[in-house]
Amino acid sequence: MSPYTKYSEQELVSLLLRQDGQAFSYLYDNYSSALFGVINQIVSDREIATDVLQDVFINIWRKIGSYDDTKGRLFTWMLNIARNAAIDKIRSRPYQDSLKNQPLTENVNSTAANRVVNPQVNDIGLKKVINKLKEEYRVLIDMSYFQGFTHEEISKMLNLPLGTVKTRIRSALMQLRTMIS
């Protein structure tokens, strides 16, 4: 493939559906670093993040048939695969066990709450943008986006009414939008 070849998302998807090796190569070259950046924001250990990225690409390759372009762009689809894989990883038992300085508790809620109170220093990417949000918003985005908790879980963990959690997350997202657009 010439280095100047540029596929539209549509072309890329149809080549991937045909299991085209060059399409994989292009997919990787064009998206791996952006997806790796996203994974790194959730999984701070670089080696583990690399494993997650590998799983993500294998999943993209296998599941490309389920991508539906009426529901959104290819990147968005891949981004959500990457985010989900990263969150699954940090919630997995081996990862939880490997976390140093953080005693393993049966109660996942208290572990998560610890992490919210003492968020990891990770001032890159979307996290950097989120750090500019006001505290009550920042916590909610961190818990929902970077740790994958549902609104119900957050409501219980922070002892806030479910409706408040929902409206605050919406408002936080709206602010986020103006920050990145």
Binding site: S32, S33, A34, G37, I58, F75, L79, G125, R177
Partner: protein, 268 residues
Amino acid sequence: MNIQEYISSGIIESYVLGLASAEERIEFEQMCAQYPELVEARNNFELAVEAQARRNASFPPADLKEKIWAAIKETDSSNTPKIITMEPTTRRSSGWGWVAAASIILFLVAGYFAFTYYNQTKELKNSNDELRARVDRTDSVLNKMAEEQKIMSDPNVTVVNMVGTQKGSPSSANIYWDSTSANVYLIVKNMPKLPSDKQYQLWSIINGQNGQLQPNSLGLFDIGEDQKVILKMSNVKKADAFAITIENRGNTGGPNLQQLQSMGKAKL
């Protein structure tokens, strides 16, 4: 709620970032089907998210790409069917009379099963062969269609519509002529079958300087059972027109213009 309020409610961001609930997602997708402005707003936010992710890209280890590709190839090739062997279980019993009676019954039962299995296998084999033949036929039709489609959609390709010149035999075909590679494809739309000693021949024709036509053979071809065929003919760089004649099988001479079947001008 009107659509503008909906757009600015934060739902787009929740949806795109994967934070919306299942109900919200379903509702959002239904709304998208109705309101193009919602799709546009979603698309804009998606682009902003992608740009944001690209600004914060981080390069994975250099050998990862090869590793992933190897892992993909490995799992693809391990998807071959597995062979399962059935271990027969043996059991001892005492009493020879019982054994004798059982073995006779077993013999009869086995014979019966062997016979039914034999018939079933034969049937299965026949239907399998039949299916395979059908798949092969479908594949070849599909391949032809795909090839046709590829040629037809190429912007460098000039289409020359060949129209019948003989009364009563409306021969028609299309020539797809790739002016950059000089490839010529002939797609037969309607050409009558010929006696076995005759063949069709495709010609490219150049208007000579002195007004004489210079024909150049692009090849002989037969029309098979399967009428819609695509034929790759000899390459030609320059042609003012194309013509199809009927010739004796294996013709090596010039065109028999009495037998001109169809003709089309190359407009370039």
